[in-house]
């Protein structure tokens, strides 16, 4: 189980080393090495999982199946991209005196801790430890968000810390309830929070308790995902944090939080019903999609624009999971991947623009194509991908979700069809039509808002005093790779990824 | 019958003799905590004796209400005291009224005191009366709620029954949570009703802060003595209520002389302990501003409400 150990050890040691190292080049070297180890370990795990199926390791502490491996893949890919981007971004921050050279190692330390917490949250077997790890991501990132130490970033950091901590606390109550219900069914209490054990006894767990637990967990981790109405920290944090951090937040942390919800959801599905969890997920999904689409339209700040676009895409993925079935779930998972790639790319571009134009106002940014041709290309591509246009893979995943929605509708909301209860029937023909229409309308609104703003930024002549050339740096490499991946994935999913996705889908769909 | 009469007389004697001692004890504790020697704990007896010997002076503007009030206050408080078990659980006067009667006997005294404060027509009296009216109107609901919580958990409104039942159960109440809420609520109410810090300060004659003292500012001589004695009686009533309803350990459950002797001693110890606690509170906390009193009594009210709530949720 060397690869599992490497997965945890790499960021841990890298973080420790970063604390004692001060030279920038060395810090980057440590970072890239640890990411390389991480990715190698992931590849080994992927092949192991694909060959032998799910396995546990380290005394039942670690549980890896197709779903967690898939999430690991996203962490590794986006993490690696971020590391390359940081190479040019952080050095420039130091060179321009925005970040003191002495604080650079703190940045890397926190970055590694953030990575570590996310890896642990993904691979761990116990839902309780998963909670601890997800709370740890909050703690690691709160100083990263406020890294610039301006008033705005302090404000954003405080909001993030308080809102996420409280949200996460509610999730802990859900975990307590889950444990409470498992105590009846399990003989070995010490294993009472392990996913492997819970899945075995899932249909014997008490549905009342599980329903309550799921609501708490959905609201709790939903805060981290940034689902409406728990999203208010998200645009602030995404605006204020340094670009590589935002890329990680938007690309990976959201995915890990969704993963925590999905893990819980499978257990609850066994005990309660698919319609209960699906209805709730779809409800939050639609709330996020519609609200975010509206805010995208009125946005004047390009970082906030992308932040709301994150909320929108998480909403779409949630709708996919809520509708369920093989198609919806597959679409949802695939959409998580596509969004992670497209959004980290978008924030790389946003970071470059911010460094050049020194503003986050869309109105003051013009002619990026002239000033920064590479960045303009990245911005356009990510914008198109985020609008889910062909030939990008996000088009494929969004169409999958929409098709699932149109064919199955939303599961009936949590009131069952007993007399005197309100039933929101959204799975009959009319209901299906209505929810699909809402979905498509919101997607089109978001597309319009996003592309209108982005084209306005890309074309035109840059303001006076803006440098009109862009030299190739290593920071451009991840952008090219991510863009390439988005295009390739739309027509050809590499077999390992496809298998992971398919197996993860079967894990999530309860027949 | 004869036994009942003797018991009533005994209870009256105990209440009347113990109550000034409690006031003296609070003052002593306070003094000690402030590193003063303080007056003897028996000083209030001397004060009362002195006041009874003095000739009262009556303002020419006062009406009959002013002269009759001290007697009404004293009598109503003493009657209220007879409804509360002190050293024996089966109170001889328990036929005369229950826990609700107790509340309204005390309210009767407050009502007349407020009238008397207004009667003399002095500025301070009126101010004290209006403040007392505010405090009383806020304590009333809190007290009623906490008392209901007690009555419901014990299944009776009769104080003797409540105390007797719990005493026979070795003092273990059936449900601790509602009792605890009611206790906390009743303690706050007791502080407010007996004019203690942090609601009122009995040791001051500063016009900005006084409530009870302002109302009785015009009194002198034996009238003042009666009112002071009634105030200390009221304190004794509340302390007995708290001590015996929530911790009826050691109270005499039969009329056997030995049990009653122990009962009296335990009663003394319990009320003295409570008085010490009050003395400590007076040292540790500052008096609240009048408009903050609502906060504290709001707490008392909510606690009473919670007591009731706990009772109902636990029953169902």
């Amino acid at each position: 189980m060397i690869e599992v150990a490497a997965l945890v050890a790499a960021p841990l040691f890298a973080g420790g080393l970063s604390l004692v190292v001060h030279r920038s080049a060395l810090l980057h070297a440590i970072n890239l090495t640890s990411m390389a180890i991480l990715v190698t370990a992931e590849i080994m795990i992927t092949s192991a999982v694909l060959k032998d199926g799910p396995f546990t390791a380290l005394e039942q502490l670690v549980y890896l199946d197709a779903l967690s491996t898939f999430i690991l893949f996203i962490i590794g890919a986006v993490g690696l991209a971020c590391s390359f981007y940081m190479r040019s971004y952080m050095d420039e921050q130091v060179a321009r005196g925005i970040v003191a050279p002495t604080r650079l190692n703190m940045f890397f330390f926190l970055f590694h801790m953030f990575l570590l917490a996310m890896v642990v949250a993904t691979i761990v077997n116990s839902v309780g430890v998963q909670w601890v790890a997800i709370e740890a991501t909050t703690l690691a990132t709160t100083f990263l968000i406020a890294f610039w130490r301006r008033r705005e970033s302090l404000e954003a950091g405080w909001k993030y810390l308080i809102l996420c901590s409280v949200g996460i606390s509610l999730a802990l109550f859900g975990v307590v309830l889950l444990y409470y219900s498992s105590l009846h069914a399990l003989s070995d209490v010490g294993q009472g929070l392990n996913v492997t054990q819970l899945l075995i006894v899932a249909d014997r767990l008490n549905p009342h308790v599980l329903k309550l637990a799921f609501i708490f967990i959905l609201v709790g981790y939903g805060t981290k995902v940034g689902l409406v109405p728990m999203h208010s920290w998200l645009p602030d944090a995404y605006t204020e944090a340094p670009a590589p951090v935002v890329a990680m937040l938007a690309g990976v942390l959201e995915v890990v939080s969704v993963y925590a919800i999905l893990r819980m959801r499978v257990i609850v599905d066994h005990a309660v019903s698919f319609a209960f969890t699906g209805g709730l997920l779809a409800l939050f999904g639609f709330a996020s999609l519609v609200t975010a689409a509206f805010f995208i339209l009125i946005q004047h700040n390009y970082k906030r624009l992308f932040a709301y676009s994150s909320i929108e895409h998480m909403g779409i993925a949630m709708i996919g999971f809520g509708v369920g079935g093989a198609l919806g779930t597959f679409g949802g998972l695939f959409h998580l991947l596509n969004h992670a790639f497209a959004k980290s790319m978008a924030f790389f571009a946003a970071g470059n623009i911010h460094r050049r134009f020194h503003t986050v106002e869309i109105g003051q940014v013009q002619g990026v194509a002239t000033a920064q041709p590479w960045t303009a290309m990245a911005l356009m591509i990510s914008g198109l991908a985020l609008s889910a246009l062909p030939p990008f893979s996000s088009f494929a995943s969004e169409v999958q979700v929409a098709t699932a929605l149109a064919s199955q509708g939303v599961p009936e909301m949590w009131f069952t069809n007993t007399e005197g209860m309100v039933t929101i029937a959204l799975s009959d023909q009319f209901g299906r039509l209505a929810v699909t229409a809402v979905f498509l309308m919101s997607a089109i609104l978001a597309f319009g808002g996003l592309m209108y703003r982005i084209t306005g930024m890309v074309w035109g002549t840059p303001p006076e005093g803006i440098l009109r050339e862009e030299t190739w740096t290593v920071g451009h490499l991840p952008v090219i790779l991510l863009a390439g991946a988005l295009v390739v994935f739309s027509v050809f999913l590499p077999p390992p990824i496809r298998q992971l996705l398919e197996q993860a889908t079967t894990l999530l769909v309860i027949q | 019958m004869l036994q009942a009469i003797i018991l009533v007389i005994a209870q009256v004697t105990v209440l009347l003799t113990v109550s000034p001692f409690l006031v003296g004890l609070i003052r002593k504790v306070k003094a000690r905590l402030q590193l003063r020697r303080g007056a003897s704990v028996f000083q209030p007896y001397a004060d009362l004796a002195k006041l009874f010997r003095k000739q009262p002076v009556l303002s020419t503007t006062t009406s009959w209400i002013f002269t009759v009030t001290p007697y009404i206050v004293f009598a109503s408080t003493l009657t209220a005291g007879l409804l509360v078990p002190t050293f024996i659980s089966q109170n001889p006067m328990n036929f005369a009224g229950n826990i609700i009667a107790l509340v309204y006997l005390l309210a009767l005294g407050t009502f007349f005191l407020i009238l008397a404060g207004l009667d003399a027509g002095s500025a301070f009296g009126g101010m004290g009366s209006s403040r007392e009216a505010i405090v009383a109107s806020l304590t009333e609901p809190a007290m009623i709620l906490s008392i209901f919580a007690i009555a419901l958990t014990n299944g009776s409104t009769n104080l003797s029954t409540i105390v007797h039942k719990t005493a026979l159960l070795d003092g273990v109440a059936t449900d601790p949570s509602p009792q605890l809420m009611a206790l906390a609520s009743l303690f706050l109410v007791a502080l407010a009703e007996t004019g203690r810090v942090p609601i009122d300060n009995p040791a001051t004659h500063l016009e900005l802060t006084m409530i009870h003292e302002a109302m009785i500012l015009e009194y002198s001589g034996r009238y003042l003595a009666l009112l002071e004695w009634a105030a200390s009686l009221k304190l004794a009533v509340f302390l007995s209520l708290i001590a015996n309803v929530f911790a009826p350990w050691g109270i005499a459950t039969t009329a056997a002389p030995a049990a009653m002797m122990i009962g009296v001693l335990v009663y003394l110890a319990k009320t003295a302990a409570l008085a010490t606690v009050i003395g400590m509170i007076e040292c540790m906390f500052a008096k609240l501003r009048l408009f903050r009193v609502t906060d504290l009594l709001g707490v008392a009210f909510i606690l009473g409400l919670l007591g009731l709530l706990f009772f109902y949720t636990l029953r169902s």
């Binding site: 116990s126 | 273990v172 606690l303």
Partner: protein, 221 residues
């Protein structure tokens, strides 16, 4: 799991009720340092509850949790918060979004809500007590409310810690403690969160000259 004696469960009940009682005191208290003291008191009650549960159920690892609660929540965190308060220029909460009596009424309502929510799941447990889980939920909700109703960063933090106490009470009284590794992790997280929030409060004080969180209005739509 053995069947517990009647009076033992009553004691746990009593302790949980005491925790709830301190919650109300915190809601009614305006002075920042007194809020911190009350939080320490509440944590002390929590230690007693956890020790009681450990004794009654014979689960040794709850003792560890109790000791940790004592060290972290009764000693370390209050000290950290006191230090933070010492640096501030404001010692008491002057303006609240909800005044004290209304706040207390709302909290009373929250307690009812908590009982209402947990009613369907209470009877099925081999629960130590009937109402500990409901009280835990009530404390969580009141902590939540405190965070919303107060403006000062420190009192918001106290609200968060109260919320955590409620969670811990729920975990102890309803499930006889979580697996040890989870509990340790939770303690670690809470401690770090408090330290971070303490540092933040100081930085907010420096940057905004105030710890009123309603001054944090630079970022908005």
């Amino acid at each position: 799991m053995q069947v517990l004696s009647y009076s033992g469960s009553q004691l746990v009940d009593l302790c949980s009720a005491l925790l709830l009682l301190t919650c109300f005191a915190i809601v009614a208290q305006r002075r920042l340092s007194a809020c911190v003291d009350l939080f320490a008191l509440q944590s002390a009650f929590l230690v007693v509850t956890a020790a009681l549960v450990a004794y009654l159920t014979g689960n040794q690892h709850i003792y560890i949790a109790a000791v940790l609660t004592g060290v972290i929540k009764v000693i370390i965190i209050p000290r950290v918060l006191k230090k933070v308060i010492d640096r501030l220029n404001v010692k008491r909460e002057l303006v609240m979004y909800v005044n004290v009596p209304a706040g207390l009424l709302i909290c009373g309502g929250l307690v009812m809500l908590a009982f209402f929510i947990s009613e369907p799941i209470i009877p099925l447990g081999f629960l130590l007590t009937r109402d500990s889980l409901a009280i835990a939920l009530a404390i969580v909700l009141i902590g939540f409310f405190t965070m919303i109703a107060r403006q000062k960063a420190v009192t918001q933090l106290v609200g968060f810690l109260v919320l955590e106490n409620g969670l811990f009470l729920g975990a102890t009284a309803a499930t006889y403690g979580m697996p040890l590794i989870v509990e340790l992790g939770v303690f670690f997280d809470v401690l770090i969160a408090t330290l971070i929030a303490g540092i933040y409060t100081n930085r907010l004080q420096d940057a905004f000259d105030s710890v009123d969180t309603n001054r944090l209005t630079v970022l908005k739509e």
